[in-house]
């Protein structure tokens, strides 16, 4: 353990995080934490780049900007185009989109569970950093499981490629439908994939239960005050208020679990506003009717959260049987709704993996899924279009305004991590203050600070329209005079 006094610690960029980020921790004269900031660099020029282009290019452009969740941007964008041309896609087209989308959600959540966030628990928060990664996970769960993870991810991605074109840059969606259907002869192998996907999700739940739920120390960590915030939550729900990733209305609940708002995407600007801080490029979203009340929690503060835990809190349940069973166990174990423990996001993510896999099974066995009624041709003159989906990391809004020829005049994107940014900032500061005392800073403690935001699976790649991928990670420590006194560089991965 290193003894440091009057310092600032900066963690830059953050490890196992999708995109490039940095944390600055300022110590006071006694070696306690005065402030902790989560910063991300800016990627410039998206709005300017999009203006003057045909709206039909947006699903490709927005998905190409982010290599992390291209399918989420693609779907939000396609839905915004449906709205722009005031067109309702055919039922089979919607089901194909939803099938591809759930496949993507399963694959992306698996990435986080086993590779990005999971190592903190599967290997352990205090394990040496060289072991706290996927290699450590393999050693813990065994080589056969490692092979299973690699193979399942590859097969899910291959399916998305088959239906939607390239995984990184999907070309599936068109305004009013999809470009390609599913051939009858391909059904058996896709049905097998969906079945294996569900086995995989249920297997992941067993791994989680064995390693985490049975470990009292881990459960104490998950439910500790350091990782707790009582905020509002936001997520998409279907007509029965069940979690839905692809479609529905946006629902917001207050810190006590009561419905605060429920609205269609077209009303999002009535509910979401953005606050700017001088130390960050990110715009911090808050609930407009509540107002900005600083980085504080409770019903008086407009800060809200999105992502798996928020989705579960926002909904009344899951629309599929196994996911519903796990959902009920989640709340009975953690003390009822809403759950405010940030680290419970990891468990919530597994509930969602099960839902995604079950929904894949429902859709791939649906009679409409091989229909060739794939598109309704747009006829209306475009003006404004808005679309929303639940990205793996939370609610994602696309908003375009065009001239009568469908040429973009204005765009506005609110991405998942931006919705979460206020709560992430609070989480980092609270964890730093709760864990670092008297200037004693160990590798394990710093990792536990990182865990506070890693649980959200934050993606900075588009939160500030930032660089895709991940980069190495630097922790710098500053004293109360703002001098850097210690730096730790690590290697990122994803």
């Amino acid at each position: 353990m290193t003894k440091v006094t009057k310092k600032k610690i900066a963690i830059d960029p953050v490890t196992r995080l999708e995109g490039h980020g940095k944390i600055d921790i300022f110590l006071d004269e006694k070696g306690g934490v005065e402030h902790a900031y989560f910063r991300i660099p800016e990627l410039r020029g998206f709005e300017v780049f999009s203006i003057g282009r045909p709206a039909e290019d947006m699903p490709q452009i927005t998905s190409r900007i982010c290599g992390v969740c291209p399918t989420a941007h693609h779907m939000a964008s396609i839905k915004a185009l449906d709205d722009l041309y005031k067109i309702e896609p055919s039922v089979p087209a919607k089901k194909i989109r939803e099938l591809v989308y759930n496949t993507f959600m399963l694959e992306d959540h698996a990435l986080h569970v086993y590779i990005l966030g999971g190592p903190d628990f599967i290997v352990g928060p205090n394990a040496p950093p060289e072991m706290r990664n996927f290699l450590g996970v393999i050693q813990k769960v065994g080589k056969d499981v490692g092979k299973k993870i690699i193979s399942m991810r590859r097969r899910l991605r291959e399916f998305i490629t088959h239906i939607g074109g390239k995984v990184i840059h999907p070309v599936l969606g068109l305004p009013g439908g999809v470009a390609k259907g599913i051939a009858l002869e391909d059904l058996p192998r896709f049905q097998e994939l969906a079945r294996d996907g569900l086995d995989f999700a249920l297997f992941t739940l067993r791994v989680f239960k064995d390693i985490i739920l049975k470990n009292k120390d881990y459960m104490d960590l998950i439910t500790s005050d350091v990782y707790t915030h009582k905020t509002y939550y936001m997520g998409l729900v279907d007509e029965n208020n069940k979690v839905n990733f692809y479609d529905g209305q946006v629902r917001v609940i207050d810190p006590y679990g009561s419905e605060f708002a429920k609205f269609t995407v077209q009303k999002y600007l009535d509910y979401i506003a953005e606050h700017v801080e001088p130390w960050s490029y990110i715009k911090f979203c808050y609930l407009k009717p509540v107002g900005w009340n600083g980085f504080t929690e409770g019903a008086e503060s407009g800060i809200y959260s999105v992502a798996p835990l928020a989705r579960l809190n926002t909904a009344n349940g899951m629309a599929t049987p196994e996911a519903q069973k796990t959902y009920e166990e989640f709340y009975s174990t953690l003390g009822g709704k809403p759950v405010h423990y940030t680290l419970a996001n990891h468990w919530a993510r597994i509930v969602e993996m099960i839902y995604a896999a079950e929904r894949m099974n429902e859709l791939i066995h649906d009679v409409d899924i091989t229909s060739q009624d794939l598109r309704v041709i747009p006829k209306e003159t475009p003006t404004v279009g808005m679309g929303v989906v639940e990205a793996p990391r939370g609610t994602l809004f696309h908003h375009y305004e065009t001239d009568e020829n469908g040429i973009i005049r204005k765009t506005n994107l609110i991405v998942a991590t931006q919705n979460n940014s206020g709560r992430i900032a609070m989480s980092v500061e609270k964890a730093a203050k709760g864990l670092i005392h008297n200037g004693e800073i160990s590798e394990g403690l710093l990792n536990m600070v990182e865990m506070a935001f890693r649980a959200y699976d934050p993606c900075n790649a588009c939160a500030t329209h930032c660089l895709v991928g991940s980069m190495p990670f630097r922790i710098a420590i500053y004293d109360h005079k703002r001098n850097v006194v210690r730096e730790i560089t690590r290697v990122g991965e994803n």
Binding site: H20, P41, E42, L43, R44, G45, F46, V48, F49, I61, R64, I65, G67, L111, I115, N133, F134, L135, I138, Q139, K143, G146, K147, I150, R153, R154, R157, V167, I168, H169, H465, C466, L467, V468, G469, S470, M471, P472, T489, V491, G492, E493, N494
Partner: protein
């Protein structure tokens, strides 16, 4: 030139909508026209574990990517063998994890390339959205093409000696 059945992949990484970050993609576009059709030229925007899907099962691979170093070196091209690359020394959003990927492949007994070269082009601005690269970076593409041709020619000669 004959390829003697070995599977060679030239993999360009990056994002062609992020100005200089697209240099790897652009280089592979050019290489497609000049290399033998037996050599696979692939453009990808993936990173980390996603690279495993491209690398597993290949005999020899050249990865072309943008890297960020000091401004004086913009437009320069660096060549490394995987063994020479220390993960802490090169700041690319795409390289990170190559060592781990090889280690994962070894642990899981997945086939991993016997030879893996990385060509890194030092870029100026990979943080802005746009399709046009900096002139110094665009000017480096011809050099990359020559370096790739040379590496492949050496690999093919080695194979000819081994399998005359």
């Amino acid at each position: 030139m004959p390829n003697h059945g070995q599977s060679i992949l030239v993999l360009g990484l990056g994002n062609d909508l992020l100005k200089d970050d697209g240099v790897g993609i652009a280089a592979v576009q050019k290489l497609r026209d000049v290399l033998d059709i037996s050599i696979d030229c692939v453009q990808a925007s993936t990173s980390g574990l996603g690279l495993m899907d491209y690398l597993a099962g290949r005999d020899k691979v050249i990865i072309i990517d943008a890297i960020v170093l000091v401004p004086e070196k913009v437009g320069q091209v660096f060549e490394w063998h995987l063994d020479e690359l220390s993960t802490g020394t090169v700041f690319s959003p795409h390289y990170v994890g190559l060592f781990e990927i090889r280690e994962i492949a070894r642990l899981l007994t997945l086939p991993f390339p016997k030879e893996l070269k990385v060509l890194g082009i030092v870029v100026k601005d990979p943080f802005a959205i746009g399709e046009k690269m900096s002139p110094e970076v665009e000017g480096a593409i011809d050099k990359v093409v020559e370096m790739v041709k040379k590496i492949i020619s050496i690999w093919q000669k080695e194979t000819e000696i081994a399998f005359p």
